[in-house]
């Protein structure tokens, strides 16, 4: 008994230390980045003195601010749209058997297995053909042509966001007892009512997860976006990449820190919302009996 206990303790320690090492590795670079975003030195690894200059310079940086606003604009539209599409798609896919299900699955797998660079390149090729054709058909000249820009980025983002979010929503749908929906229909709810009153509340963590996934994919995407940008539609990752490639600019450390902080805030908020939701479901002792 004691040997079993020590053995378990030992294995917990081993697991724990390996986990600690893995987490440490995961965080060290980011942590260092955060620290150095407050360093006044322009170059190198030497700590000079604490400064907020790099953060202060961000609002005055027009290029950067535009990139941030582009990224937010795209993510804030792409996220809800793709979450709705993904939820619909998940319901449509998990709702039952249908002809061509296998091939549909294959098509839906494409965005997940296709290397980003190939997606980007193929979108560039296809969209430029399509735009040319569209401008011909609509008789649009140089001045008012439809061209690459935020709409094309948005389309591309919605496509891959939807594909990934669908994965998560589908997983939560699969874990759902199909009898729940049937019970609702049986009790007199229409399909629409059933969706809003039963299915959506039940798969809410999945939908929320899908939305979070879409949001971060959108904010984060570099490779695909790079190929479908147009004038004035540079997003934050592309701007960061361009700056990484040119001169030293410690303000990138600051921007990166801000992105990191924002991710944490969004994530914690989401978790908090979920925890709040489940706390609400616990009965309070003094709550009166319904209708009593």
């Amino acid at each position: 008994m004691t040997t079993a206990r020590t053995r378990r303790l030992a294995s917990t320690w081993t697991l724990g230390s390996i986990s600690a090492v893995a987490l440490f590795m995961l965080y060290l670079p980011v942590a260092v980045l955060v620290v150095f975003s407050f360093n006044s030195a322009r170059t190198g690894a030497v700590w000079e003195s604490f400064t907020l200059d790099w953060y202060r310079s961000i609002p005055d940086d027009r290029q950067l601010m535009r990139a941030i606003s582009n990224s937010l604009w795209i993510a804030l539209i792409a996220t809800p749209v793709s979450t709705v599409l993904a939820t619909m798609l998940a319901l449509g896919m998990e709702g039952g058997r249908f002809r061509g299900k296998r091939s549909t699955e294959q098509v839906l797998n494409l965005p997940i297995v296709a290397p980003e660079i190939i997606t980007g390149v193929s979108l560039l090729a296809a969209m430029s053909l399509a735009l040319r054709f569209l401008n011909d058909v609509l008789g649009r000249g140089n001045a008012d042509a439809i061209r690459f820009g935020r709409p094309t980025i948005l389309l591309a983002h919605i496509a891959f966001d939807t594909a990934f979010a669908t994965l998560i929503v589908r997983a939560s749908l699969r874990n759902l007892d199909p009898a729940l929906a049937e019970a609702s229909l049986d009790l007199g709810a229409t399909r629409w009512q059933t969706f809003w009153r039963v299915i959506l509340p039940a798969i809410r963590p999945g939908v929320l997860g899908g939305a979070l996934m879409a949001l971060t994919l959108s904010i984060d995407n570099f490779v695909i976006t790079f190929f479908v940008t147009g004038p004035g539609s540079t997003t934050l990752p592309i701007e960061i990449y361009a700056r990484l490639r040119r001169t030293i600019s410690p303000s990138i450390n600051a921007v990166a820190t801000l992105i990191f902080a924002a991710s944490i805030v969004v994530l914690v908020a989401a978790l908090f919302a979920q925890a709040l939701g489940s706390a609400k479901r616990k009965p309070s002792a003094e709550a009166p009996v319904q209708g009593g």
């Binding site: 007892d177 009898a179 729940l180 049937e182 019970a183 609702s184 229909l185 049986d186 009790l187 007199g188 709810a189 229409t190 009512q193 009153r197 039963v198 509340p201 039940a202 479901r281 616990k282 009965p283 309070s284 709550a287 009996v289 319904q290 209708g291 009593g292």
Partner: protein, 365 residues
């Protein structure tokens, strides 16, 4: 006169697999009808077709004379208690029950009153604000029941609602269901694979097998007069023995089993020499301590050897292998004050079988 629910020539196929086969079924208003059969016999599918959760491939369904075949589930005055209970996890007990009423936009006070009544009926009045995952399986089952009856459906469908409960609870719930059925006076259609449940609760039982109703009758009739070998084997325990008609005298026959004969009462006009199947309930098999094959009475019962004795608590069962045959017969006798009613019968003893003519039921093979 019309049944409340009628199924006419209803067939359900999944792909090429026929689950329900040209079924005709008539459910009377106010009755407690059980669909009984082994898993995969189509009983649940039948229930789901009545609920509208499954559409028949062929045939029509009607409720109260109106055709409901193409009516979606939410437009049918039929509610279901699901096997998994299917309580909405995000709603409290009272909100679960109020669900159907809210959909009908009933008034607040009315909903509150009806929910309270329903909770009282299932004796869950003090659990209104709990959530499904906070209450036990038995309690969930009651809530599911309350939810299904609160809107007073014409028909209540119960899909093996007791199968997830333990034995004690199951037996208690049988009585509860029976009581609620009496109180409400609505039609219950109850699906189960447990013949005990079906027999104890139902007004009528439909025994199903491979998508067909083999026999639809009152429990006593089913038990005493099974129409087929399958029904006999499925309802209660029965010894099914191959036999041949030895003599026929009016509505009485004597059949030859193993190395002996047994009297039987039957309405069949069986002629001498017909191969038949006998059904004898274990409780009605008598074992006589045979002393060297000395027989009494006109028909000397078959002899055999006891091969197994099992203590069952309130009773003891003995399995006898018939001499000159590989057939086995089980006999059950109640114990008296913990003492085996078989006396000092031991494994290996030779015995002779005897039965009352009314205990032996003849099935045509």
């Amino acid at each position: 006169m019309q049944g409340l629910v009628e199924l006419r020539n209803v067939t359900k196929r999944f792909g090429s697999h026929v689950v329900v086969d040209a079924m005709d079924l008539r459910i009377e208003g106010g009755e407690f009808l059980s669909l009984l059969g082994p898993s995969g016999c189509g009983k649940s599918t039948t229930l789901r077709m009545i609920a509208g959760l499954e559409q028949p491939s062929e045939g029509r369904l009607s409720l109260d004379g109106a055709d409901i075949t193409d009516l979606p589930p939410h437009k049918r005055a039929v509610n279901t208690v699901f096997q998994s209970y299917a309580l909405f996890p995000h709603l409290s007990v009272s909100d679960n029950i109020a669900y159907a009423l809210r959909l009908r936009r009933a008034g607040r006070t009315e909903i509150a009153a009806q929910v309270r009544d329903a909770l009282e009926m299932v004796r869950m009045g003090d659990h209104a604000d709990y959530f499904p995952r906070q209450i036990s399986g038995g309690q969930q089952q009651r809530v599911a029941l309350a939810r299904a009856i609160v809107a007073r459906p014409r028909v209540l469908l119960l899909d093996e609602p007791l199968s997830a409960l333990d034995l004690k609870l199951r037996q208690a719930m049988r009585l509860e269901l029976k009581r609620i059925h009496r109180q409400l006076g609505i039609t219950f259609v109850f699906v189960t694979h447990d013949q005990g449940e079906a027999l104890t609760m139902s007004d009528r039982v439909a025994v199903m097998h491979e998508g067909r109703v083999l026999q639809l009758d009152r429990p006593e009739e089913l038990y005493e007069r099974p129409a087929s070998r399958f029904v006999a084997s499925f309802i209660g325990d029965a010894n099914l023995l191959n036999a041949v008609v030895a003599r026929a005298e009016g509505d009485c026959v004597t059949v030859k089993v193993g190395n002996g004969e047994l009297p039987a009462k039957c309405k069949l006009s069986a002629t001498t020499g017909t191969a038949i199947t006998l059904s004898v309930r274990p409780q009605r098999v008598k074992l006589l301590q045979s002393s060297g094959g000395a027989a009494t009475g006109a028909a000397a019962g078959p002899t055999g050897v006891v091969v197994e004795m099992t203590f069952l608590g309130d009773a003891t069962s003995a399995v006898v292998r018939l001499d000159g045959s590989d057939q086995q017969v089980t006999a059950v006798r109640l114990n008296v004050e913990g003492v085996s009613a078989f006396g000092d019968l031991r494994i290996g003893d030779s015995v002779q079988l005897a039965c009352e003519p009314t205990a032996v039921h003849v099935l045509v093979r």
